[in-house]
C-alpha cells in the first residue's frame, strides 16, 4: 500500500441554483466512494463544500497508487512440463508464456489439493498510479451525475447544471489534469467575482489542506455550514442592536447560506407606516420578494420597521446595498399596501360570485361549488357534534367565507397567505372573532410540523374543507397511489385524522365518508360503494400513520389496530392503556395464550353459547368466572387490569385442561368458552399480534 495523500476536486461553475448544490455534492460523494472501493483505493475522510459557483470534494487520504497484487497461478503437473532430460516441454513453455514469465521463473510445488507437484508461477500485478485512474474516471463520474434541469452552452453538447468554467484537482500537491468539456484542471481557481474585478490573476491552491484559507482570502467561504453559522450570528447581533429579535425561519436561513459566497448581513429600515399591514403580510412579502428576515419586538408581538438580508460581499462601504434593498422593499410594500387597501374597499363576501370562475377541479367544479359543499358538510357535522344554534351559525358563516380571499389581490400575489387574508379582512369588517379566526386558520395543519387550528370552529372548518377535498377527489377517481399524489390528498387526509385524533370528536371515518359522498353525490363519476371502500382504506392508512406519529410502540399499534380502528377516541384510549401495560410481564404470557386460542379456534368456530355447568375441571370453572368479570367491565383502563389478571388462570387452564377432548358436548363447551374469551380480548387488542 503506497502512501496516502489528500485529494481535492473543485468544479468552478457559473451560478448554480441553490436547490441543486447539496444533492449534487452528495451524489458525487457517493459515486466517488463507490469508484474508489471498486479500484481497491482506500478513500478516507471525504467532505464536501459548496457555494453558488463551486462544487467541491476533499478526501483526507487517497493512496498515490493501487497496491501491487500478488497472484499465484497453478499450471499442469511437473511431469508434463519437464521431459526426462530435465528440459521444458512444449506444454511447460506455453504455461510460462501464458503468464508472461521466462520458464526459469516457473517453480514446481505441490499445492494443497493436488496429488503431485505442479508448475507454479507468482505474478505481481503492479498497482496503477491513482492520478491515471482519476484522470480516466472523474470525467465520467461528473458527466454521469443526475442533473434534473441540465443545460447546454456554447457550441458543446456537454450537459451540466451550469457551465463549468474552471477545474481544480489535486492529489497531494500534484495536479490531476482531468479534462471536462475542454476545460483542463490545474492548481488554481477563482475567488469571489467582485474580488477579481481588481485582481485578474486566479487563486493558487498549492495543496488540498490550503483550500478554505486560499478562498477565504479571495472572498469566498466555501463551507455552507460556516456561512450559515456566520449569518445566524450576524442576524442575532443586528436584531439585538435595534432592540428586537429575528422572526425565526430555518428555511430562509438555509437559503441565504446557499445564495452567497461571502455572507454579510445588512440591516435596513422601511417606513413605519407599513406596520399597519398584518404581520403575516410583512413577513411573507419580505421573505418571498427580498429573501429578508423580519425583526419583532422582544415580547414577540409586533414587528419593528427593520429587516435583515444577505449581501454577497464582505462589506457595504458606501451603504448602497442597504439603500438598494430599502428602495426595492419600499416598492414591494407599496404594492402590498395597495392590495390591502384595494381588497378592503369591498366586503369579502362580494368575491363569492367570482369563485364561480375559479376552477377547483375539473369534475368537481369551481371553488363556488366547493364552498357550497363545505357549507353542507359543516352543517351535517355540526349537527352530529351537537353545536348550539349560535355556534352553528358562526360555523356556517366561516364556511361560506373561507374561500373568498382566493379572489383578493393579496392572495393573487401571495398564494401562501390564503386563509390568513380572508381572516384578516373579516376581522377588519367586524366579523365575530370565532368566524374570522376559523377562516384564518382553516388551512392548518399545513404539514406534520404545523399546529392544528387553535379554535374548535377552526378545526371544524379545516376538517370539513379537507373532507370535501379528499372525498370529492376520490368520488371522481383521483386516488393517490405510490408516489402519485398530485393534489397532496395524503397531507389533507392526515390533517383531517389529526384533528379527529386530537379533538377527540365522536366522528368516525365511516360517518365522514357517508356525509361527504352524500353531498358530492351528483358530481361523482365512480360508484359510491367502490369509493367508500377506497376512502376507508385510505383513512385506515392515515390512522395507522397517526399512531406512528403519536409515538406508540409497534406491538401496541399492531394489536390495537387489529381490534378496530374506526372509533378514534376508543383507539386512542386503548393505545394509551396498552402502552401503560407494555412492560407488565403478564402481558407476554397473555399474548402466548391468545396465540394458542387462535390456533385452537382456527378450524372450529363455535357459536359462543355454553352452559357453565357442563365444565368439570377447577381451572376451567375459574376461567369462566374470570370471563364473566371481563365481560362486565366497560372502562377501558380497568378492562386491561382484568385482562392482565387473566394471564395466570389461562396458563393454569392450558396446563391442566385438554380442550379437544372426546366428549363432544364438553369439547363444544370449552371451545365456546375460548371463543368468548377471544371476543372479549378483541375489545382491546388482538394479542396474537403482540410481540
Amino acid at each position: 500500500m503506497s502512501a496516502a495523500q489528500p485529494f481535492l476536486l473543485e468544479l468552478h461553475c457559473e451560478e448554480i441554483p441553490a436547490r441543486f448544490l447539496q444533492p449534487l455534492t452528495a451524489d458525487l460523494s457517493a459515486a466517488l466512494t463507490a469508484w474508489a472501493a471498486g479500484q481497491n483505493l482506500e478513500l478516507t475522510g471525504l467532505e464536501v463544500f459548496y457555494s453558488p459557483r463551486k462544487l467541491a470534494w476533499r478526501a483526507a487520504g487517497l493512496p498515490l497508487a493501487q497496491a501491487d497484487q500478488i497472484e499465484i497461478q497453478v499450471g499442469p503437473p511437473q511431469r508434463m512440463c519437464v521431459d526426462e532430460a530435465g528440459q521444458p516441454t512444449i506444454q511447460g513453455q506455453k504455461f510460462a508464456e501464458k503468464w508472461g514469465v521466462p520458464f526459469a521463473a516457473v517453480r514446481f510445488e505441490q499445492p494443497a489439493g493436488k496429488k503431485e507437484p505442479c508448475a507454479v508461477v507468482t505474478i505481481t500485478k503492479v498497482g496503477r498510479p491513482t492520478v491515471d485512474l482519476l484522470q480516466e474516471a472523474l470525467p465520467g463520474l461528473v458527466a454521469g451525475l443526475h442533473v434534473p434541469k441540465a443545460m447546454r452552452w456554447g457550441n458543446s453538447d456537454f450537459e451540466f447544471v451550469r457551465p463549468i468554467r474552471s477545474i481544480l484537482c489535486l492529489l497531494g500537491d500534484q495536479v490531476v489534469p482531468i479534462t471536462l468539456d475542454g476545460v483542463t484542471a490545474s492548481n488554481t481557481t477563482w475567488g469571489h467575482r467582485l474580488f477579481h474585478r481588481a485582481q485578474p490573476e486566479p487563486v493558487v491552491v498549492p495543496e488540498p489542506a490550503a483550500y478554505e484559507a486560499a478562498l477565504e482570502a479571495a472572498g469566498v467561504v466555501v463551507s455552507v455550514d460556516v456561512r450559515r453559522a456566520r449569518i445566524a450570528e450576524q442576524l442575532n447581533t443586528l436584531a439585538a442592536a435595534v432592540g428586537g429579535r429575528v422572526v425565526a425561519d430555518a428555511e430562509l436561513l438555509d437559503t441565504l447560506a446557499e445564495i452567497v459566497e461571502f455572507p454579510k448581513i445588512v440591516c435596513g429600515e422601511f417606513p413605519p407606516e407599513f406596520l399597519e399591514l398584518p404581520k403575516e403580510v410583512l413577513v411573507t412579502s419580505l421573505r418571498e420578494h427580498q429573501k429578508s428576515f423580519c425583526i419583532e419586538k422582544l415580547d414577540g408581538t409586533d414587528l419593528l420597521p427593520c429587516f435583515l438580508t444577505a449581501a454577497n460581499r464582505t462589506d457595504d462601504p458606501a451603504g448602497f446595498v442597504k439603500a438598494g434593498n430599502e428602495w426595492v422593499l419600499k416598492a414591494r410594500l407599496y404594492d402590498a399596501r395597495f392590495f390591502f387597501a384595494e381588497d378592503r374597499k369591498l366586503p369579502l363576501a362580494v368575491r363569492m360570485e367570482k369563485l364561480m370562475a375559479l376552477t377547483f377541479q375539473r369534475d368537481l367544479g369551481s371553488y363556488h361549488d366547493k364552498t357550497g359543499r363545505v357549507v353542507a358538510i359543516t352543517k351535517a357535522l355540526a349537527k352530529r357534534l351537537s353545536l348550539d344554534e349560535a355556534h352553528m351559525e358562526r360555523a356556517l358563516e366561516a364556511a361560506r367565507m373561507a374561500k373568498c380571499d382566493l379572489r383578493t389581490l393579496m392572495v393573487g400575489e401571495f398564494p401562501e397567505l390564503q386563509g390568513i387574508m380572508g381572516g384578516e379582512y373579516l376581522r377588519h369588517e367586524g366579523s365575530h372573532e370565532e368566524v374570522w379566526m376559523a377562516v384564518k386558520e382553516h388551512y392548518r395543519p399545513a404539514g406534520a410540523d404545523d399546529a392544528l387550528p387553535v379554535t374548535a370552529l377552526g378545526c371544524l372548518l379545516s376538517l370539513c374543507d379537507k373532507l370535501d377535498t379528499v372525498g370529492g377527489c376520490f368520488a371522481v377517481g383521483i386516488i393517490p397511489s405510490g408516489s402519485k399524489d398530485p393534489l397532496a390528498l395524503r397531507r389533507s387526509g392526515q390533517g383531517l385524522v389529526r384533528i379527529l385524533w386530537e379533538r377527540g370528536w365522536a366522528l368516525t371515518p365511516r360517518d365522514l365518508s357517508g356525509v361527504v359522498l352524500g353531498i358530492v353525490g351528483p358530481k361523482a363519476t365512480k360508484p359510491i360503494a367502490e369509493t367508500t371502500e377506497a376512502l376507508l382504506a385510505f383513512f385506515k392508512d392515515r390512522v395507522t400513520y397517526q399512531l406512528e406519529l403519536a409515538g406508540y410502540a409497534g406491538s401496541v399499534r399492531r394489536s390495537a389496530l387489529a381490534a378496530g380502528w374506526e372509533d378514534l377516541a376508543d383507539l386512542k384510549a386503548r393505545c394509551e392503556a396498552l402502552s401503560g401495560f407494555a412492560d407488565d410481564p403478564r402481558f407476554a404470557s397473555l399474548a402466548q395464550s391468545a396465540k394458542r386460542i387462535g390456533n385452537i379456534l382456527k378450524d372450529e368456530i363455535p357459536d359462543g353459547n355454553f352452559d357453565g355447568a357442563l365444565l368439570v375441571q377447577g381451572e376451567e370453572k375459574e376461567l369462566a368466572i374470570q370471563l364473566g368479570r371481563l365481560e362486565a367491565t366497560t372502562d377501558q383502563a380497568a378492562l386491561l387490569g382484568v385482562l392482565a389478571d387473566l394471564a395466570q388462570p389461562l396458563e393454569a387452564f392450558f396446563g391442566a385442561v385438554m380442550v379437544k377432548c372426546e366428549d363432544p358436548a364438553l369439547r363444544a363447551t370449552r371451545l365456546s368458552l375460548l371463543h368468548r374469551l377471544r371476543q372479549a380480548f378483541l375489545r382491546v387488542a388482538d394479542f396474537s399480534l403482540w410481540q
Binding site: E15, M151, G154, N155, D157, R165, L194, V328, D335
Partner: protein
C-alpha cells in the same frame, strides 16, 4: 442617468464587442425575445450577435399610469450572443460598469430563474440578475426556440431599462424619470417619462381593461391564426406567418387581461400560438438548410 443615455451607452458597449445594433420590430409584443432578430436568430448554426431596444406590452400590468412602479408598456434592451461566449458573465458585468456602476460598492447576485415562453415553444435556463436586492436583468441560455433545439446555444441578456434608470437615480416614481433633454434656442427642456408616456399608459390601460371589444379580439385571434397557417402551408412563408403568430399572442394578452380566457381553456389557446410559431421555426430551419449552399457560394452571411 437619462433613459436615452442609458440606451446609447448599452448600444455603444455591445457594438464595440461585435454585436449588430438592431431595431425594434413594429408589431406589438410581450417581450423582446419575440423580435425575429432573436426568434429566428437563435435558431440554426450561424454565429449571430445582435442588440436592440424593444418596447414590450403587458396589458395585464397596466395601471392607468397611477402605479409608480408598474406599466403597460416598458422598454427592454435585448442582447443575443450565439454561440454563448465563455466569458459572457464578465461581458455582462462590464456592460454594467459602462453604465457607471462601481462594483467595489455594490452587491451582485445571479439567482436561478428559468425562462419559458409557452407561446413561442421556447425555454432556457439562467438567472435573474440582482443588484443590491433589485432585479435588473434576465440572463438566459436558450435551450429551445419554436420547439427546436438550439445548437449552438445563445445567451440572451435582457435589461429592464426603466428599472435600471430608476435604481441608479434613486427615483420613487417611474414617471419622474428623465428621457432626455430638448435643447432649443430658448433653452434646455428636460422631458420626463411621464410627459412622454403617462397619458398613453392611461389610455392603453383603459383599453385593455375596459374598452377593447372582446368579440372583435376573439375573431381577430382566429383570423390571424388562419392567415398564418395559410401563409405557412400554402406558400412556405415563415416570416409573414410569424407576424401573424405575434399578432395572435398580443390579441391573447388583451383577452387575458380582461379575464376573458378561463384557466381551463388557457393552455389550449396558448398552444394555438405555439403551434404556428413552431411551424415557422421549423420552416425557417428547412429553408436555411436548403439555401445554405447558395448562400455559401454567394459569400453572404446573416441569420435571416
Amino acid at each position: 442617468m437619462h433613459i436615452q443615455e442609458l440606451i446609447l451607452r448599452l448600444q455603444r458597449f455591445w457594438a464595440d464587442r461585435g454585436c449588430l445594433i438592431g431595431q425594434p420590430y413594429d408589431i406589438e409584443k410581450g417581450a423582446g425575445t419575440m423580435n425575429p432578430l432573436t426568434f429566428f436568430g437563435a435558431l440554426g448554426a450561424k454565429p449571430w450577435n445582435v442588440a436592440y431596444v424593444e418596447p414590450s406590452r403587458r396589458p395585464a400590468d397596466g395601471r392607468y399610469g397611477e402605479n409608480p412602479f408598474r406599466v403597460y408598456k416598458h422598454l427592454q434592451f435585448q442582447v443575443i450572443l450565439k454561440p454563448s461566449p465563455a466569458k459572457v458573465q464578465d461581458l455582462y458585468i462590464e456592460s454594467l460598469e459602462a453604465l457607471g456602476i462601481d462594483f467595489s460598492k455594490h452587491d451582485l447576485r445571479f439567482e436561478e430563474d428559468n425562462w419559458e415562453s409557452p407561446s413561442l415553444g421556447a425555454w432556457g435556463v439562467g438567472w435573474q440578475v440582482v443588484l443590491d436586492g433589485m432585479e435588473i436583468s434576465q440572463f438566459t441560455y436558450f435551450q429551445q426556440v419554436g420547439g427546436q433545439d438550439c445548437r449552438p446555444v445563445s445567451a440572451e441578456l435582457t435589461y429592464g431599462i426603466e428599472r435600471i434608470c430608476m435604481f441608479l437615480g434613486g427615483y420613487d416614481n417611474i414617471f419622474d424619470l428623465v428621457h432626455g433633454e430638448v435643447k432649443t434656442d430658448d433653452g434646455v427642456f428636460p422631458v420626463t417619462y411621464g410627459e412622454m408616456r403617462q397619458r398613453e399608459e392611461f389610455e392603453l390601460s383603459a383599453y385593455s381593461f375596459e374598452h377593447a371589444d372582446l368579440d372583435l379580439h376573439r375573431n381577430l385571434f382566429a383570423s390571424f391564426e388562419k392567415e398564418g397557417w395559410r401563409l405557412l402551408t400554402d406558400h412556405g412563408h415563415f416570416l409573414s406567418a410569424y407576424e401573424q403568430a405575434l399578432k395572435m399572442s398580443h390579441t391573447f394578452n388583451v383577452l387575458d387581461a380582461r379575464g376573458a380566457v378561463s384557466t381551463t381553456e388557457r393552455p389550449a389557446v396558448i398552444k394555438r400560438v405555439r403551434d404556428l410559431a413552431s411551424g415557422c421555426a421549423k420552416a425557417y430551419l428547412e429553408h436555411q438548410e436548403g439555401s445554405a449552399a447558395t448562400i455559401a457560394a454567394a459569400g453572404k452571411g446573416g441569420a435571416l
